[in-house]
Symmetry: C2
Subunit: 429 residues, 2 copies
C-alpha cells in the first residue's frame, strides 16, 4: 500500500477524495431505461430483463412454491445464524422506537412529534457473485418494526430464473410482502413508477451497481425518496503499535474483497505497524477467492502515518469513513471524538464483519464522505416525523399577540387576522 508520512494538512483534501465513478454513457442508458419503463411498464421490464440480464420472464413475481423450496434448501446452521442475526438487528432497531413527548412551550400551548411509517417501501437486493441476504435483514427488519404496510423486494434472478434461496428465506422471515425477479435500473424504474405487476413505492432502499445507483439518484429528482446517495464501500482502520497486524490486515482485506472500486485506509502512528500490516495484507490476499477484487481495491488504497493523536482524529473526521475500526489502546477515547463516520468498531475483537452481519447495527451506511451529512439506515429511515400542536383558549391568548406582531412585520395580513379574529371572538365570550 502506498504510504503517506505526515502529509501536510494542505494535502488532506486530496487524500480524502474518493476514486470518481458515474459517467455520461451510463447516464444516457439509465435515462432511456427510466423513460421506457415509465411509458411501457411491464413490456419494457420484459425487454430489459432479456437484454441486460439474459433472462426471459413474463411474470416477475416469486410464487409460494419457490418460497417453500427456499426454506428447505438452506442448511440448519445457516438458518440458525440468520435467526441470531435477525434477533440482534431487531433488538437494536426496536430500541430506536421513540415515545411521544408532549412539550408545553407556553401555558396552554402543547407541541409534540410523532413518527409514522412510510406506507410502501421498496428494497433492492443486487444479484451477482454473492447473494446478499444480509442486506435483506438490514432493510426488511427495520421496515417491519417501523410499521411499513408493504415491503416490496426486487432482485435479479440467475440464469435459471431463480433468486438465491437465502435471499428468499430472509425475506420470508422478515415479513417482505412481495418479491420480484427483476434487477438493474429497470427494477428501480418499476419501483418508482409502478407497472401492472410491480407496485410503485414511496422510498427505495438498497445497494447496487452504478446503473442502479444512478437510477436511484435520478428518480430522487422526480420525488421518490431514496435511502442514501451511494458509492463504493470503504473502511478506515486506526491502529497503534499494540494492534495485532494480522487482525488489521484481514479487516482491510474484508473490505477490499467487496470490489475493486472499494477503498481501504490505514491510519497509524507507527511506521513498524504499517509495514507489518502491509506484509500481512500481501500474504493473506494470495489465498482469497476474491483476490482480484481485493488487489484492485488495494491499488486505490493507502496508509497514512500521523504521530499526533489530534491529527489522527482530525483526519478520520475529514475523511468521514463508512466503516471505522479503532484497533488502538485509546479506542474508547478516539470513539468519543468521532464526528463523521457511518459505523464505528471499537477494540481488537470488533471486526467490521460482525456489524456487516449480526451485531445488530445496520450495514447500510454512508460512503464517499456522505457521513458528514447523512446517517446510515436506521429505524428513522422507514418513518417520518409529524409535528402536532394544540392550543387552549388561554394558550392562544398568551401567544396570539406575539404572532400578530410577527405576521405584521412579515407583511402577512391574513396570518395576523387568523389570530386577531379568534382573539376578538374570545373577548366576547
Amino acid at each position: 500500500m502506498k504510504t503517506y508520512v505526515e502529509p501536510p494538512r494542505s494535502q488532506w483534501a486530496a487524500l480524502c477524495q474518493r476514486p470518481a465513478d458515474l459517467n455520461d454513457v451510463q447516464d444516457q442508458i439509465v435515462d432511456q431505461i427510466l423513460a421506457e419503463v415509465k411509458q411501457e411498464g411491464d413490456k419494457a421490464l420484459i425487454k430489459y430483463s432479456l437484454q441486460l440480464d439474459n433472462c426471459h420472464l413474463d411474470n416477475f413475481k416469486v410464487g409460494q412454491e419457490a418460497m417453500d423450496e427456499a426454506e428447505s434448501a438452506l442448511g440448519p446452521a445457516l438458518k440458525n445464524a440468520i435467526h441470531v442475526a435477525r434477533k440482534n438487528i431487531e433488538l437494536f432497531h426496536k430500541s430506536q422506537v421513540q415515545t411521544i413527548r408532549i412539550i408545553e412551550t407556553m401555558p396552554g400551548v402543547h407541541c409534540w412529534q410523532k413518527s409514522t411509517p412510510i406506507e410502501r417501501v421498496g428494497i433492492y437486493i443486487p444479484g451477482g457473485t454473492a447473494p446478499l441476504f444480509s442486506t435483506v435483514l438490514m432493510l426488511a427488519i427495520p421496515a417491519k418494526i417501523a410499521g411499513c404496510r408493504e415491503i416490496i423486494l426486487c432482485s435479479p434472478p440467475d440464469k435459471e430464473k431463480n433468486i438465491h434461496p437465502a435471499i428468499l428465506y430472509a425475506a420470508m422471515l422478515c415479513g417482505v410482502t412481495q418479491i420480484f425477479r427483476l434487477g438493474g435500473a429497470q427494477a428501480i424504474a418499476a419501483l418508482a413508477y409502478g407497472t401492472r405487476q410491480i407496485p410503485a413505492v414511496t422510498k427505495i432502499f438498497g445497494p447496487g451497481n452504478r446503473f442502479v445507483t444512478q437510477a436511484k439518484m435520478k428518480v430522487q429528482q422526480q420525488g421518490i425518496a431514496i435511502d442514501l446517495p451511494a458509492g463504493p464501500s470503504e473502511v478506515m482502520i486506526c491502529a497503534d503499535d499494540q494492534a495485532d497486524p494480522t487482525f488489521v490486515a484481514i479487516d482491510l482485506l474484508s473490505q477490499a474483497e467487496h470490489g475493486s472500486d472499494s477503498q481501504v485506509v490505514l491510519v497509524s502512528n507507527s511506521e513498524v505497524m504499517i509495514s507489518k500490516v502491509d506484509k500481512e495484507v500481501n500474504y493473506l490476499v494470495e489465498d482469497l477467492p476474491r483476490k482480484k477484487h481485493a488487489e484492485g481495491a488495494l491499488s486505490n488504497s493507502f496508509a497514512i502515518l500521523l504521530n499526533d493523536q489530534q491529527d489522527q482524529i482530525d483526519f478520520i473526521n475529514a475523511y468521514a469513513p463508512e466503516h471505522l475500526i479503532l484497533n488502538h489502546r485509546d479506542a474508547d477515547f478516539l470513539a468519543e471524538q468521532v464526528i463523521n463516520a457511518g459505523s464505528v468498531f471499537i477494540g481488537p475483537y470488533t471486526p467490521e464483519s460482525v456489524g456487516d452481519y449480526a451485531s445488530g447495527t445496520n450495514h447500510t451506511l454512508p460512503t464517499s464522505a456522505y457521513a458528514k451529512a447523512y446517517s446510515g439506515v436506521n429505524l428513522d429511515a422507514f418513518t417520518k416525523k409529524i409535528t402536532f400542536q394544540k392550543l387552549s383558549k388561554a394558550g392562544l391568548q398568551a401567544i396570539g399577540p406575539h404572532v400578530e406582531i410577527m405576521a405584521e412585520a412579515e407583511a402577512l395580513k391574513a396570518h395576523q387576522l387568523a389570530v386577531s379574529i379568534r382573539l376578538a371572538k374570545l373577548k366576547t365570550e
Copy 2:
C-alpha cells in the same frame, strides 16, 4: 372554490396532484449559474447579483455596523415577540435531543447510536415582498442546539444593498456565524461549492423561488445535502358543521396569501359549512393587501365533501398536506389517524399562523405530498447518527461462529477470516 361532492376513490389521485412547476428554461439557466459559480467563484456572484438582483456588490459579507443598526431599527414589541418565539422554538427542539442508549444485543456485544452535528450548514432566506425572519429562527435555532460549528446565511439584499433588519436581528440572536448579501441560484451555488468569500457547506436549508429550489435539487445530485425537496406551500382544513366558518376562511386565506402557486383544500362532511366558508373567503379576501396572491391560490384550490369519516381520514393521508388544520369536534381522534402530513393543528384555537411563528414546532415542512416520505425540519435535520459497536472476547466468541457461516454463504472469505483468525487466537490464550 370548486367543490367536489363525494368523488369516487378512482378520482382521488387526480385531486391529490399538485399544480406542476419546474420547467426547462429554468433548468438551463440554473445549470449555467451553477457551472459559472463553480468555475469563476466570486466573479460570477458579482455578475449575477448585478444581472438578476440589480445590485452591484463586490463584498457580500454583512459587517458589524449593519448588525448594530439592525438591532436599533426594530421596535421593542417585535423584538419581544421574536424572543418569545425563540424561547418556544428552543424549548421544543431541545426536547428532541436524544440520549445515548447502549444495547447489549448478545452477552458481550454492545451497540449504540449517537447523533453528531453537521459541522457547517447553510441557510437561505428569500428576499422579496416579505422579510422572512421567522425562517431564520426555524433554521438557526435547531442548528445551534445540534451543535453545528458554523451557520452561514445568504439572503438577497434590497435595492439599497441591505438585508431587512429583522432578518439580521434574528440571525444575531440565534448565533448565525456569517451573513452574506446574496440571493438566487447563485447563492445556492456559492454555498455548495464555496468561493473566496463564501465558505462551502455540507447541507443547505431554506425556502426559495423556483430557481433556488432547482439549484438545491441539482447540487443535491452532486453530493450536497439539502433539507427537503420543496414545492409551493399548502394547507388542508378538515372542518365539521360545528366549526366557525370565519376561522376556517381566514385560515385558508392565511395560506393562500403566500403566493398564487399555493393550494388550499377544505375537507368537510357539511355542504352548509362549505358554502358558508366559501362566502366568508370571498368576503375576507377583498381587504387583504396580498389579495392578488390569495385569489391566484384560490383558483388552484377546492373543497371536497366526504360524509364518511374514514373517507375523510383516507383522503387526508392520500393528499399528505404540508399543514393540516383539524377544526372538528373529533379533532383529537382524527389527529391520531393522520399518517401523512407535515404539521397538524388541532382544534379551533390552533390556527396555522401560531406554528408559522411561535408555538415551537418548525415551519419548514414537506409540501407536494413529500410528507409521505419526509419529515419537516427538526433537530435531526442538523445531525446525523453514527452507530458504534464494541465486542468483548466473550462477545466475539458468542456471535463469531454465526458470522462465519453467514460470510461463507455470501462467499466473502475475508469477512469470515476476520472472525476465524481472532477466534483462533483466543483459543491459544
